[in-house]
């Protein structure tokens, strides 16, 4: 009984801290990257929610995929995602990550990001404005608080399925094996 209580208290503190400190690795793949600077700087000031930009995947919590992903870029994104330390969250930004958006017919972009990486939250729009981005972060905070943002667990459990999907589009698969 006592151990349960200690564990529960630890979980509450951990969830609270994770919720209020989101370090974002903004992967500016597409045109959506232009919305990130105003979100982070003086006009919309995401720092007041504890959201800060981070430069390296090792230190980041949130992988923000801004826009379409070319197959070549997807390889880098997967590698980046696997270098991040769990718990980690993926945020799909713009309609390109949801269904391909205006790149639906393209021969070298992926359509649905969720098939390749476990996306915790999507922000729709082409492109979403900074208000939308901050709203997405607030939703992510709610998900973390209720313990529903566990895409990283899903990725670990269904690694085979994700790998099959990834290898289907990435023909020259030369990636190191990570053991996290």
């Amino acid at each position: 009984m006592k151990e349960d209580w200690g564990k529960e208290a630890g979980n509450i503190i951990a969830r609270w801290a994770r919720k209020h400190s989101l370090w974002v690795l903004a992967y500016g793949t597409g045109c959506g990257a232009i919305e990130i600077p105003p979100t982070m700087t003086s006009r919309y000031d995401a720092e007041r929610f504890g959201i800060t930009g981070m430069a390296t995947p090792r230190q980041a919590d949130v992988l923000l995929i801004t826009g379409y992903l070319a197959v070549k870029t997807l390889k880098r994104v997967i590698r980046t995602y696997e270098q991040m330390q769990s718990p980690k969250y993926v945020m799909g930004f713009g309609s390109c990550t949801i269904n391909g958006g205006m790149y639906w017919d393209s021969y070298n972009t992926i359509k649905r990001l969720d098939d390749y990486l476990p996306v915790d939250i999507f922000i729709n729009g082409c492109m979403p404005r900074p208000e939308g981005v901050i709203d997405g972060f607030i939703e992510l905070q709610k998900l973390i608080d209720s313990g529903q943002a566990n895409g990283w667990k899903k990725y670990q459990d269904n690694l085979e399925w994700y790998r099959t999907n990834q290898k289907k589009v990435i023909k020259n698969w030369k990636m190191p094996d990570y053991n996290w």
Binding site: W16, S42, E47, R48, A55, T56, R58, M84, Q85
Partner: protein, 300 residues
Amino acid sequence: MDTSFNLWILLMPFVGALVGLTYMGIGRRIIARVQHRYGPPIFQNIVDVLKLYSKKTAITHGVMFHLAPTLAITGTISTLMFLPILTGPHGIYLFSFKGDLILLMYIMVFGCLAMALGAGQSGNPNSAIGVSRGLSQMVGYEAPFVIAMVTLMVQFNTTSVHDIIKAQDSFVHWNMFQSPFAFIAALFAFLGFMGNKPFDVVIAPAEIASGPPSEFGGKYLALMQTNRGMFAFVKLVLYVDLFMGGAANFVSLLAKTFFFYLIPLFVGIVNPRFRTEQAITFFWKWPTVIGLLGFLMVIL
């Protein structure tokens, strides 16, 4: 006496880390206000550290990589242990009777060197660049710092921090006013120590990722952030001891250390980043010359 002594030895690292991290949070808030932003809450850095401790960590690059954050924090705690935190009747002296200023100067560098070794083993090119920049800059600001310290030691004919504090018994006898040249030289070195804006070529956000710690994540980074907060506190307390005559109670300690924390912060807000060689030439030119001038005045 004995219980309170043991208690403070156990508590002081935590107090130091909390104070340092809170100062950093206040600093972020002040920077935000200058940039017309609202800014994060002042305990944001503590939340960040808590989150980092709660993260799972699975990175390996070798033995030194695992040891580096631990060694860095060991260096910082041992520096803290040789500092008189509070003076007067209710003083907190820790082990400071056993060490002197020379030991402090020597042991302060230990954490930086451990970090350099760990970051060097991580194999990340950004880390390597950051380490080389950091060590070069350290060569720069150590010169005025050592000159200032030697000036103080010659002036009071002692190497003990206690005797230097005792010599500054009243406001007008603070070393700030008593030996202004050494103070100015040490203050410039302090700007380099704190790694705020004009001299932040080591971390250099948006240039070399985050420099030496770019391959550290999760709990390693948590240890390093704790170390950063604690080390800031150590440096602040050392400067208060040397130049403002120490502090008799916690209120005056916090006021004095916060005054010292604001100086590099305000300098940092309005200044862009120096390149490495600019920083080194700056340190070797003005602060060193001013420090040598003060040294000459003390000798003559």
